[in-house]
């Protein structure tokens, strides 16, 4: 579903935000991208939905070679990918309904379909009672749900989420994680960038790609990767 081969990304200058990253997510996978702040998690997600071009390497998303994708093809790729942005990117002065419906509007869906579908995804995220509220009046957790509802409204085959639990308290973090697991259970590939290791421990069967200064330092099944890293960190602390 998502394949990266020796991908490099430099934003200009000789510093690489991503350095020789090779990583795969198959259909139905739940993939965590983790690593400290500045490791390149956001950059990786941006490459996948064509918000940034890779400097070098190959990227395949649903069989499409992004290096060869023309500008005119980008919108159609993006319709297959739902993105939950770190800063939500919601229109604060618009209603919950309008924000979620926008994804469907841009594909030219008829009004009746949009209404039905928006209510359906708002039910999924538990916001069906607030469809007429303005987004700027919602709590952080609620805004996060609106962002998730918008990301899944167009039935994407991939959902990308950038630090979706960044500013939320523990209880709501778990609820949000549970939402992504539900989306994943319905067959959608989920890629979730987070620096929160607790989150990863909650999904032991997930895949993990660990970045550090743009390099992939560990990859595999969550349970094993986390155990390895713990051992490594303990031994390095022992040395010190």
């Amino acid at each position: 579903m998502i394949q990266l081969y020796h991908v490099y990304k430099a934003y200009g200058g000789d510093q690489y935000a991503l350095h020789d990253v090779t990583l795969t997510a198959d259909k139905g996978d739940f993939l965590f991208i983790t690593g400290p702040s500045g490791a390149g998690k956001t950059t990786l997600l941006k490459l996948i939905f064509c918000a940034e071009p890779a400097t070098r390497g190959q990227l395949l998303v649903d069989g499409v070679n992004l290096q060869r994708l023309k500008r005119s093809g980008i919108p159609y790729l993006r319709r297959k990918i739902g993105v939950v942005f770190q800063d939500f990117k919601l229109l604060g002065e618009r209603t919950v309904f309008a924000n979620v419906g926008l994804t469907l509007e841009v594909t030219g869906r008829p009004r009746a379909y949009i209404e039905k579908k928006v209510r359906q995804v708002l039910r999924l995220v538990g916001l069906d009672a607030k469809e007429n509220h303005l987004c700027c009046r919602l709590s952080g957790g609620e805004q996060q749900r609106v962002a998730i509802a918008r990301a899944v409204a167009a039935n994407p085959i991939i959902v990308l989420a950038d630090e979706p639990t960044g500013n939320l308290d523990d209880e709501i973090t778990l609820e949000i994680l549970e939402l992504f697991r539900e989306i994943n259970r319905r067959g959608t590939t989920v890629v979730l960038a987070t620096h929160n290791r607790e989150l990863i421990r909650k999904v032991p069967g997930a895949k993990v790609g660990m970045l550090r200064q743009g390099r992939l330092v560990a990859a595999g099944v969550a349970k094993q990767v986390m155990a390895q890293r713990s051992a490594l960190e303990m031994s390095s602390q022992g040395v010190l």
Partner: protein, 297 residues
């Protein structure tokens, strides 16, 4: 394109206009004023042009006769000139006929003739030329030939005056094209600037639309329609304004009779259609200019 989609774009365009109605008003008036000025120029130009054309078709030459020429001599002269190949028709106007015509044509000045004992108007021969001899070279040559005939005092033709008018019309045209061109460019700039401003006030939404898979066309279409609506609206205003203005001008101003008469036969419908077409074009151009500049990633 699906009708539903068109309605959607139209609604978005109207929404854009509604978010900044003042800006729309300014745009509309700028377009209207530019087109009004352009329209006035073309109206006057067309008028004068048409009058010239009609006068050109008459091709009249008048040969005034000396006082000493008797009416018999004049008639001999008339039949002689009538045989020239350039001459289509020729009429003898006696002193009395000239006076009568003067009285009936210029009623308000008739009084100045009352005090005179003698009729000061000369007798004349009025020639109409065949259309193919209407070039000014022919006319000049012919009038010299006429002037050399015994008994002819003076030859007059409308050419000098018409040549001046023609130069005036050409200058008008040049000024009109220059001013009109500048105004049209300004109009395109105003439309594109309006769109730029709406674009900026909506950039957050447009950015999000792009991120969730909107095509360039989908994002552009409402702005194109907005420009189009402004162009059309401005054109309608200008057409209305021009109609009112011409009505006013021709009923209140003492324009030369001929010009006033021409106005009735002007292709007003075509002018309005032209305005609308131009408005559409300006709108599309204006929005395309801004979209090309501001829709780059």
């Amino acid at each position: 394109m699906r009708l539903g989609l068109l309605v959607y774009f139209l609604r978005k365009a109207l929404g854009n206009i509604r978010t900044n109605p003042f800006l729309s008003m300014v745009t509309l008036s700028t377009i209207a004023i530019s087109m009004l000025i352009l329209g006035l120029f073309s109206l006057i130009y067309l008028n004068v042009q048409q009058s010239l054309h009609q006068m050109g078709g008459e091709l009249q030459i008048t040969a005034y006769l000396q006082e000493t020429v008797s009416s018999e001599q004049a008639k001999v002269l008339r039949s002689k000139v009538a045989d020239w190949p350039e001459v289509e028709g020729i009429t003898y106007i006696s002193k009395e006929q000239a006076l009568a015509r003067f009285r009936s044509q210029l009623r308000e000045y008739a009084g100045i003739l009352e005090g005179l004992k003698e009729n000061p108007l000369p007798a004349s021969l009025e020639l109409t030329l065949m259309a193919q001899y209407g070039r000014s070279g022919n006319i000049k040559e012919l009038s010299t030939r006429l002037g050399r005939l015994p008994g002819v005092a003076e030859v007059q033709y409308g050419r000098k005056w018409m040549a001046k008018l023609r130069v005036f019309v050409e200058v008008m045209k040049l000024v009109g094209i220059t001013v009109g061109g500048l105004l049209l460019i300004a109009t395109i700039f105003v439309i594109s600037n309006t769109i730029k401003l709406t674009f900026y006030s909506r950039r957050e939404e447009l950015e999000i639309m792009r991120l969730v898979g909107a095509t360039d066309f989908f994002i552009k279409a409402p702005f194109l329609i907005e420009g189009l609506l402004h162009g059309l609206g401005g054109a309608l205003l200008a057409a209305g304004g021009l109609s009112l203005l011409t009505l006013f001008l021709f009923s209140h101003l003492d324009l030369p009779l001929r010009l006033a008469m021409m106005a009735g036969s002007l292709p007003t419908g075509q002018l309005v259609a032209g305005f609308l077409g131009l408005g559409l074009l300006l709108g599309v151009l204006g929005s395309m200019v801004s979209l090309r500049r501001f829709l780059r990633p």
